[in-house]
Each structure stands twice: as structure tokens, then as C-alpha cells.
């Protein structure tokens, strides 16, 4: 049994919880909101997320790697904390659930237009349930395995290099966009997932390398986003990119081999691994929060209840648009948690530190 998550696994977990459904539409969103060379916006994105991770590492340093729940429970009465835990659990659970639902709807749109998407959703939820009941170490092992299983896909970007043209990037920078603030907030959901690393503290090595691994996971994701977006901006024309709903799928559709074509059908299956890990991590976060509220309930029972609740909620939004809206608003909430939780914890830790020094 792995006693602690090694830095490599922390990095993989962070990266795997970040990369998700947004990647399909990311280049279009960049082009639409930020205009020409919108991919440049990903650089400040990396900086902001890195700052957020800095806050998280500060919590680790001040709290000496203690569980965030313990830190909160030391200063705040449980009666106050329970609604907070419930809030965290709800946001993470439903956010994860909607990511899963969006994947399922997309898949239904591509290949199974007549099948009820909730059937797919049920299958995905069963897989997630089986994964989260095994705990973070099994999730981490599965994440690492999936990471290597999908690693080769990045090399597919080289396929587009012969068709890549710098001219399509245009010499203009960030021209022709609109609603940049809204776009920035929407795009930020593409980075979300790293904030869950705050829950990994009790499970990872207390070394600096583990904290560096959080940055590394995030940096790897950013690099991937930049490469992907750059390829999309140079492969499609700016006007075309703005009109494509899911440029990544269209991009993959161009790959042809003598014995197989329309690879996006197959590769979309591989994206299941990435999306599953994102949702699994959010659900694991939700499970961790709920365990604080109902510690006596066995993990499989609690996980089952959460899975059933989320499955029922996923019946509410019917169309892709509705799901997108849910993701948007829950993304705002998750962003709020990503910044708010570390800030709250830092404040608590400083207060606790002052109290200790007075004593």
C-alpha cells in the first residue's frame, strides 16, 4: 500500500483533475471572447492559478501539512462549519456531476442520438462510484495509469504541424473579442481542479517537492492548453475557429490513416478517462467534506448516497445549453472556493498562531 502520495502522483492528480470537458471548446472560447491570438490569455491564466496555488502552499506551510478540516475545526464551532461543509460538498458534487453530464450529452450528440443520455450517465456514475469508494490512493493509481494511457495523444498535435500556418494567427493581438471579463471567468473553469490539492495535504509527503508538484501539474496543463490552442489558431482560420462549437473534436476529425479515419470517435472514448478523473476528484472532495458531517456512516454508503443524489440532480438540466449554464455558475462557485478557502484557512492559521504565541 502506498503510504504517501509521491510528488509525481500529486502532479498527475492535479493535472488529471484539471483537464476536463472544457478542453473541447477552449480554443473557440479564446477566439470568441478575446479575439485574435486569444491563446495569449492562457499565460496570465497560468499566473493567476499559480498565485492561487501559492495561497494553497501557504496553508500547507502555516498548517504544517495538517488536514484543512482539522484547521477549521480547531477554531470554528462545528455548528457553523457544517453548513460550510455542506456547501463545499454540494458545489463539488454537482460541479463534477455536470461535467459528467456534459460529456455524456456530447457523446450522445456525436454517436448515439436516439439513446437516453441518462443511461450513459448512470454507467459513468457507477464507474465513478467504484472508483471513489476505493479511496485516494486507488484514485491516484488509476489517475497515473490513465495519464500514461492518454499521454500519447499529445503527440497527435504533431500531425497538424504541416498544415499549421503562422499567417492564420494574424499580427493582431486580442482584437475582435467581446465580454472579456465574463469570458475570463468562464475560461477560468478550464483551470479548476488544482484547488482540490488542498485536500491532499494529509496524504502527501511533507516535502517541498510535493508543493512544487502542484505547480508542476498546473504548469503542464497550461503548457498543453497553450500548445493545443496555438495549433488550433494556426490550423483553423480565426473566423472558422469562432464558429466551431468543439474545435478539438473537429481537429481530431482531420486525422486519417489508411486503415482508419474520423479518429475523434475513438479518441472521444479516451477523453472519458480524463473526465472521469476530474469528476472522481471533485466527488472525492465532496465525500471528504461530507465525512466530516456524518463521520459514522461507512464510506461506500456515503458515496452511494452522494452518487444517487447527484444522479437525481443531473435529471434537471436537459439540454447542453442548460448544462453549460449550470457549469458556468457552479464554476463561479468553485472559483470562489478555490480562492476563498485558502484565504480563510490562512486567516485562521494566523489567528491560531497568534493565540498560541500569547499562551
Amino acid at each position: 500500500m502506498m503510504e504517501k502520495l509521491s510528488p509525481f502522483h500529486v502532479a498527475v492528480l492535479v493535472y488529471m483533475s484539471q483537464i476536463g470537458i472544457v478542453v473541447f471548446a477552449l480554443p473557440r472560447q479564446l477566439a470568441d471572447y478575446f479575439g485574435t491570438n486569444g491563446w495569449l490569455v492562457l499565460l496570465p491564466g497560468l499566473l493567476v492559478t499559480s498565485f492561487n496555488i501559492y495561497l494553497i502552499t501557504l496553508v500547507h506551510r502555516l498548517g504544517d501539512g495538517k488536514s484543512v478540516f482539522e484547521i477549521m475545526e480547531r477554531s470554528i464551532p462545528k455548528a457553523v462549519l457544517y453548513p460550510v461543509y455542506l456547501g463545499l460538498c454540494s458545489v463539488w458534487l454537482i460541479f463534477g456531476c455536470m461535467i459528467g453530464k456534459k460529456y455524456v450529452l456530447l457523446f450522445q450528440m456525436i454517436a448515439f442520438p436516439t439513446t437516453n443520455p441518462m443511461l450513459f450517465k448512470m454507467a459513468v456514475d457507477v464507474l465513478l462510484f467504484l472508483l471513489i469508494i476505493k479511496g485516494i490512493f486507488t484514485i491516484s493509481k488509476a489517475a497515473t495509469f490513465f495519464f500514461w494511457m492518454t499521454f500519447w495523444m499529445y503527440f497527435l498535435l504533431f500531425w497538424f504541424l504541416p498544415s499549421f500556418s503562422w499567417v492564420r494567427l494574424t499580427p493582431f493581438i486580442l482584437q475582435g473579442g467581446h465580454d472579456q471579463v465574463k469570458g475570463a471567468l468562464e475560461l477560468y473553469t478550464a483551470y479548476l481542479g488544482y484547488e482540490l490539492s488542498i485536500l491532499l495535504f494529509p496524504y502527501m509527503d511533507k516535502s517541498k517537492k510535493s508543493l512544487a508538484a502542484i505547480y508542476a501539474g498546473n504548469a503542464f496543463l497550461s503548457l498543453l492548453y497553450i500548445c493545443l490552442s496555438l495549433v488550433c489558431f494556426g490550423f483553423f482560420s480565426f473566423g472558422q475557429l469562432k464558429k466551431l462549437l468543439f474545435p478539438l473534436l473537429d481537429l481530431l476529425g482531420y486525422i486519417q490513416f489508411p486503415f482508419i479515419e474520423r479518429l475523434e470517435n475513438m479518441l472521444y472514448g479516451f477523453f472519458l478517462f480524463l473526465i472521469l478523473m476530474t469528476v472522481a476528484m471533485y466527488w472525492w472532495g465532496a465525500l471528504e467534506a461530507m465525512r466530516r458531517v456524518i463521520p459514522k456512516l461507512k464510506i461506500p454508503v456515503l458515496a452511494f448516497l452522494l452518487t444517487v443524489i447527484s444522479y437525481c440532480i443531473s435529471f434537471i438540466p436537459k439540454t447542453l445549453d442548460q448544462v453549460n449554464n449550470w457549469i458556468l455558475y457552479l464554476g463561479y462557485a468553485a472559483t470562489g472556493i478555490a480562492f476563498g478557502l485558502p484565504v480563510l484557512l490562512i486567516a485562521l492559521l494566523l489567528l491560531q498562531g497568534r493565540r498560541v504565541s500569547r499562551v
Binding site: 500500500m1 509521491s6 454517436a111 454507467a123 464507474l127 493509481k141 488509476a142 494511457m149 479515419e261 479518429l263
Partner: protein, 473 residues
């Protein structure tokens, strides 16, 4: 039976215990007031003559006591020990009030032959046999070190089967030895007949479809595992040795890899991983593409595929399951029948499946290629246990592909990955060296790097002495 009057109570008790055991022999030597009880079926006749008959014929009554002072005679007092000794191949010697056991165990065993299940092209060809003592000798011949330690246990209330745990002191991690010891002692069953059966009592997750202990019939493999810091378990009356802790990827390496040039060894290993991919996904992918994703087939190939499928009345998933079942039937029949008939079955089955089924319009010939490739690929996997597990899992993936196409395959793969991620072998991760990630081990798992690079023992064995060779400068 006329027993020596002085040792009568104990002797009578022993003889009553073995009442109606027709193969038990009781011999009396009245001139030296000695009686012998033993099973001729499990003793070495030559040893019996040399160690008992010859000395007893020459010795005088007053010299007998002196004879029994020799170290090969073990004096015992309890009847239970005497019974166990007789059953273990000793002769029980009753002299006046004293009882001695003399080990003359030597059952009839098969000669050391080639392994039928683990054949290799180059390298040593000898394989384990049913006698654990012979198997231990095959290992001792290869490891001439006092550090090779062997612990013996008895398992099975009735069979009292000897189980031997072998490890190399200072190379194997004692944590694993103790864990294995604990598990062996915990077994409470009437009979254990084979290593494969024993494994299911020792594994961390006996209900899993995947084997967590590597089984081998080859002494060279057992020795390489011992040298790598793993622990070998041998069981009497079984040619199967168990190696633990084991990882999933270990099942894809073969001793040949080390006996060939490294480039060839590497190519073979990569070929086996390709075989794993083909076994799991090829037929499922055919089902998925021909059921839901026709657009994935290029136009030139589409016509061929459509032509081959146009007479088939079933959906691809039924067609595939039918053929896969047929192949499995053939394989099982071939394995059960004598070699000569087995070959005939293979040829007849091949013709039936390969030609008649296509001509009758029951299946498409492209599927035949897919099914045959999957079957061939599954036999490339060196471990029979792992190959069988993967073939079984493949059926699930084919069904999922028939239900939901590519996403079904992805779901099946997710299920497998989730399952093997949670598996452990003697408490260590089954997915080593991928998770936990040990990049240094990859050079002896996914490839077979030149020996100069293979300087350390695998991380999974957590050896207290991880260095296996000093790097040349």
C-alpha cells in the same frame, strides 16, 4: 502380527491407528528385539536396505543400543510424532521401550522434464516436477549460497501437504516473508492439491480475476525471482512455484528476454504489450466499428467490410461472441485431448471456423481475422494464468462494445484499470512501477535494457540490498 512384548502398548496403538491400511508393513526382528513399521509405497527401497536391513542383519543384540545412537535415528516418545513420521516416509523402529524414526522417504516421482505450459526457445529446459524436494534441489543447484533460506509448513488437515517458503536472506524483505508466513498459517482446509489452489488462499484479493502471485514451472524463473528479492513458495505434489510480491506487468516478461540480445528482448516485450492491446480490444473494436462507427472506416476498406458482412444475419456482437466462444471451445478441447488428437481438433476447428462458417454466411471473414488475431495474441502472453484472465475479461469488453461502441470499450477499460489499481500483492501495489511511479524500473518492465543498466532490484521487492551489480565505470 506378533509384536515385541515390551513395546506392545505403543506399537499396538500405532498399528490400531493404521488399521486397514493395506500398504503398511510391519516387520519384526526377534533376535534383536526390534520391530519396524513403515509404508513401502513412500520409502526409498535402496535406503531401506542400506540403512535398516543390512545393519539389522549384522548387528548383535548387545550392539543395537549403540547402533541407535547414530544420528540418523531420531528418538521419539509421543505416538502422534510417530504417526506423523511414518506418514512422512520414515520407518518407525520399536526397540524395547524406545522408539526411533529413520527418514527413508523416497516416493516415486516423475523425472525432470520440459515444461509443457512454459516452453522457451533458448535457455534451460528443465522444469519443476511434483516432488517439492526435487524442486528445491533444482533451485539449490542454481543458488549455491547459505543465504537461501527455506521454511517448511504443513497445510491441509488431511493431506498434511508440505509447503516451502524460499527466500534469500538480506535480499528479500522480511516484511513479505512474515506476511506470507502469517497467511500460510491461517489456512484451515482439509486438502490442498496444487500451487494454483494454494495461491487462492494466499492472495490479497482471491476473488479478483487477475492473478496476484506469479506462478511458474521453471526453476530459472524461480531463481531470477529469488535474486530479485521476491519470495518463492513451493508446494509438495505440485510443479507450480508461486512468486510474490508480483506486479501486473511482471506477467509479460519471459526468461527468454534475458537470454536473448537486449534489443531482441526489448522487441519481444513490446510485442507482448501489443498482444495485450490486441487481445483486449481488437474484436471489441470490430464490434464497435461495425455496429456504431462505420464512418471510421476509410472508403476503400468499407466496401470490403460491407461485402464480407452483407450475408451475415446477426448483429456484430452476436457474431463476435459466437466466434470467440468457438475459439475458446477449440482451445479447451485442444488442451484436454491427447496431443495428437488435439492437433486434429485444431485443424478441423480451424477449417470449420475459417471457411465453413464464412461460406455458410454465419460470420464475416474480417471477423475471423479479428478473432484469430486476438486468440493468437492472447497466447503470446507468457503467463498462462494472466492470458486466461485477459481472455475472460475480453468477453466483457466485447459485450460493452456491442452495447455502446467505443465508449463501451472505454468504460470496460476504466473498470479494469479501477480494479487493478485497487489490487495489491502481499500488500504492495499491483501496478508497480506505473503507480507508484518508479521510472527506474521501467527499463526492466516495458523494455529489457542492456544488463549494464539493470543495476538495481525491482522497487516492489523493497529489498534491503537493492543493488544487484556494481556499475562499470
Amino acid at each position: 502380527m506378533d509384536a515385541n512384548p515390551q513395546s506392545t502398548p505403543m506399537l499396538r496403538h500405532i498399528l490400531e491407528e493404521f488399521d486397514q491400511c493395506a500398504d503398511l508393513i510391519f516387520r519384526s526382528f526377534p533376535e534383536i528385539r526390534t520391530d519396524i513399521v513403515y509404508f513401502p509405497s513412500i520409502v526409498d527401497q535402496k535406503l531401506f536396505t542400506d540403512e535398516i536391513l543390512a545393519p539389522f542383519a549384522q548387528v548383535q543384540l548387545d550392539e543395537v543400543e549403540q547402533l541407535f545412537q547414530q544420528s540418523q535415528f531420531t528418538r521419539v516418545t509421543e505416538s502422534k510424532t510417530v504417526i506423523e513420521g511414518i506418514l512422512a516416509g520414515s520407518a518407525a523402529i520399536f526397540h524395547e521401550k524406545d522408539i526411533y524414526l529413520l527418514n527413508i522417504y523416497g516416493p516415486k516421482t516423475r523425472d525432470v522434464q520440459q515444461s509443457e505450459t512454459e516452453t522457451i526457445i533458448s535457455g534451460p529446459h528443465d522444469a519443476f516436477v511434483e516432488s517439492a524436494i526435487t524442486n528445491i534441489s533444482l533451485i539449490r543447484q542454481r543458488i549455491k549460497s547459505s543465504h537461501l533460506k527455506i521454511k517448511e509448513y504443513s497445510v491441509g488437515e488431511i493431506t498434511k501437504t508440505s509447503v516451502y517458503v524460499l527466500y534469500i536472506k538480506d535480499i528479500a524483505n522480511m516484511k513479505y516473508v512474515e506476511e506470507l508466513e502469517k497467511r500460510i498459517k491461517r489456512i484451515e482446509i482439509d486438502a490442498i492439491n496444487d500451487g494454483g489452489m494454494l495461491t487462492q488462499f494466499l492472495e490479497d484479493s482471491p476473488n479478483s480475476v487477475f492473478p496476484q502471485f506469479l506462478t511458474t514451472e521453471r526453476p530459472d524463473v524461480a531463481v531470477s525471482k529469488l535474486a530479485a528479492g521476491r519470495i518463492i513458495t513451493l508446494i509438495d505434489n505440485s510443479p507450480t512455484a508461486l512468486a510474490a510480491p508480483s506486479a501486473f506487468f511482471e506477467f509479460f516478461s519471459s526468461p527468454d528476454d534475458y537470454y536473448e540480445r537486449w534489443a531482441l528482448g526489448t522487441a519481444l516485450r513490446l510485442l507482448r504489450y501489443l498482444a495485450l492491446l490486441i487481445t483486449i480490444s481488437f474484436t471489441a473494436f470490430y464490434v464497435s466499428v461495425t455496429t456504431y462507427h462505420y464512418e471510421m472506416i476509410p472508403e476503400a476498406l468499407l466496401r470490403t467490410l460491407a461485402e464480407s458482412r452483407n450475408r451475415v444475419p446477426f448483429p456484430p456482437v452476436y457474431e463476435a461472441l459466437l466466434m470467440e466462444t468457438m475459439i475458446e471451445l477449440l482451445r479447451e478441447a485442444g488442451a484436454r485431448l491427447p496431443t495428437k488428437i488435439g492437433q486434429t481438433i485444431g485443424i478441423v476447428g480451424g477449417i470449420v471456423i475459417g471457411q465453413a462458417a464464412v461460406q455458410a454466411g454465419l460470420t464475416s471473414n474480417v471477423l475471423i481475422i479479428a478473432v484469430a488475431s486476438s486468440a493468437i495474441a492472447s497466447f503470446v502472453i507468457p503467463s498462462y494464468m494472466m492470458s486466461a484472465s485477459i481472455r475472460l475479461v475480453r468477453f466483457g469488453i466485447i459485450i460493452l462494445a456491442g452495447i455502446w461502441g467505443n465508449i463501451g470499450i472505454a468504460m470496460g477499460v476504466t473498470l479494469i484499470v479501477t480494479h487493478i489499481s485497487s489490487l495489491t500483492s502481499l500488500g504492495s501495489s499491483y501496478l508497480t512501477p506505473v503507480a507508484p511511479m518508479v521510472l527506474g524500473d521501467w527499463k526492466d518492465v516495458f523494455i529489457r535494457a542492456p544488463f549494464t543498466f539493470l543495476t538495481r532490484r525491482p522497487s516492489q521487492s523493497q529489498s534491503p540490498n537493492p543493488l544487484r551489480q556494481i556499475k562499470r565505470k
